[in-house]
Amino acid sequence: MTPLRSDLALIAREVPAGARVLDVGCGDGALLAALRDGRGADARGLEIDAANVAAAMAQGLAVVQGDADRDLADYPSDSFDIAILSQTLQTTYRPDRVIGELLRIAPRAFVSFPNFAHWRVRWSLMWNGRMPVTRELPVSWYETPNIHHLTVRDFKGFVAERHLAIDGAWYLAGGQAIGAAGANWRAEQAVFALRRG
């Protein structure tokens, strides 16, 4: 088994055993499989790409093909303990509504996203005047699925504005955890644990 992507490994450690978990944008189900096998979680997924859903289903995972912007409305309130949105927020049409839906479906949520204020991104924009193509953002502007770039500071601002609570925040660079100091410069990725405010 290939090791989990660093933000997923971090989230997997934080999910309590036996939790009911919905992974929104679950890809091929790597996190779901880890939560099911390692945490005994009742883990289910929503994924937009048919090939990914098929791969997950073939592993016996409960994954539904659908779009986070549209299909989260189908899930009843409080039907899960934890909702997860990893590396998906920036691809949604209305990230604010998606987060609202996550915290309707579950009282707690983990959200991870690439930090657009990382110094490499700033450098690229500043010196080249071009949209950055980096390790975390490897695709050109015209074909990137990321349509709502955001920064650590943007996210914290949004959370405050919506009166949500932050239970924890983790920052990653080069796949390694880093401290919170200067995170908006130094973090390539951020993971937030949210709770209804």
Partner: protein, 372 residues
């Protein structure tokens, strides 16, 4: 022809008890013809029930006794295949109302000594499932590992999971729906009217007359067959190509390949299917609406269900479109039941579930084989 159908020998069980039907009638001495593959484990926990579609039968992985054609899922069910009969005990029963050995309108009514014909009670999908569960009981199986079905088979799988949630581990529903749509009822009505308009139908009492409504049944099949395909598929396969000729005849012969193909589909169907069974089974599908007892709230049918559900649709299937599968998924979510769903891409329309599709087979294998 219908007489030949009746005289075939099938592997069958006469139900030990009378079968109550949704219409209120109780049917005695019901015969359920079935095929079984593989071996039932000592724990009796490896049984998979396959449910067949409208015009199919129990010959899922063995040659058809009338046509000699391979089973309808012979590439899927067998030793070492997707539904591995070295591992699973696979059962497929001819549905109640059909004509391949199970009790239907062509069967003899003990009360009169003559075929039931239109005196056969109108049966439902739930009745078909009840008959199959009686077979499952008779085989000594308490819990099915899985129930799997496409099209009308999917309706049975859904119905079984809804009505017997403790008796099945997982339900895989392919290219199906929780209700028959107005459009689907409309196509069925065209088929039924074609049969009943055939003078040889004789109010359904054609069995002893030596005449059977082949023309009507054949037209019904032709109309239905179009709904199993897609426009893109028809265009790719036939286009406007002419059949064995270079120019149009300026007549009403089968000039076009598609006409010739449909006529062939119609004619070959009447040799193996009873017209009255076609009326009864299409009616059962029309009556199917799992949400009806709950005033349209489908989720109520699955409330607290321990069954693990899998749904698969095809993007070019306009008979049972993806939206119908999504509606089921929404209901399962609302009911808190475990659901997986994927829409596969295929140019072949509704028929895609019967065609060679390694992508589909992998999904089926993964879904039924995965450890809970």
């Amino acid at each position: 022809m219908a007489t030949t159908i009746r005289e075939l020998a099938h592997h069958a069980l006469t139900l030990p008890q009378a079968l109550p039907l949704d219409c209120g009638t109780v049917l005695d001495d019901v015969v359920v013809a079935y095929e079984a593959y593989g071996t039932l484990s000592p724990a009796r926990d490896n049984a998979i029930l396959l449910c067949h579609a409208l015009t199919m039968d129990q010959y899922v992985a063995s040659s058809h006794p009338m046509t000699g054609k391979p089973g309808w899922w012979e590439r899927v069910v067998g030793p070492g295949l997707t539904i591995d009969t070295d591992r699973y005990f696979v059962i497929c029963a001819n549905v109640l109302g059909s004509c391949m050995g199970s009790t239907g309108p062509a069967s003899i009514d003990a009360a009169t000594g003559a075929p039931y014909a239109m005196r056969f009670p109108v049966v439902t999908i739930a009745d078909m499932v009840r008959a199959q569960m009686a077979l499952v009981d008779a085989l000594g199986i308490e819990q099915l590992h899985a129930v799997v079905g496409g099209s009308m088979g999917g309706m049975q799988a859904l119905s079984l999971a809804a009505h017997y949630p403790e008796r099945v581990g997982r339900a895989l529903i392919i290219a199906s729906a929780a209700r028959h749509s107005a459009q689907n009822i409309a196509f069925h009505e065209v088929g039924r009217q074609a049969i009943m308009a055939d003078p040889d139908w004789q109010g359904g009492d054609y069995y002893a007359s030596g005449r059977v409504p082949t023309k009507g049944l054949s037209v019904a099949r032709m109309a239905a067959h179009i709904t199993y395909l897609s426009e893109a598929g028809l265009t790719a396969k036939f286009g406007r190509r002419l059949q064995d000729r270079d120019v149009k005849t300026f007549g009403f012969d089968a000039d076009f390949q598609i006409e010739s193909y449909l006529r062939h589909q119609g004619i070959s169907f009447v040799d193996r299917f009873d017209a009255n069974s076609y009326l009864y089974i299409t009616r059962a599908m029309d009556y199917f609406d799992l949400a009806e007892p709950y005033e349209g709230r489908l989720a109520e049918a699955f409330r607290g269900s321990p069954v693990r559900f899998g749904l698969i649709s095809f993007d070019s299937d306009w008979l049972y479109p993806t939206a119908e599968s999504r509606r089921i998924v929404q209901a399962l979510h609302a009911a808190g039941a475990e659901a997986s769903f994927v829409e596969l891409s295929s140019p072949f329309g509704h028929d895609a579930f019967l065609l060679d599709s390694p992508e589909l087979w992998q999904l089926i294998g993964g879904f039924i084989g995965a450890i809970r």
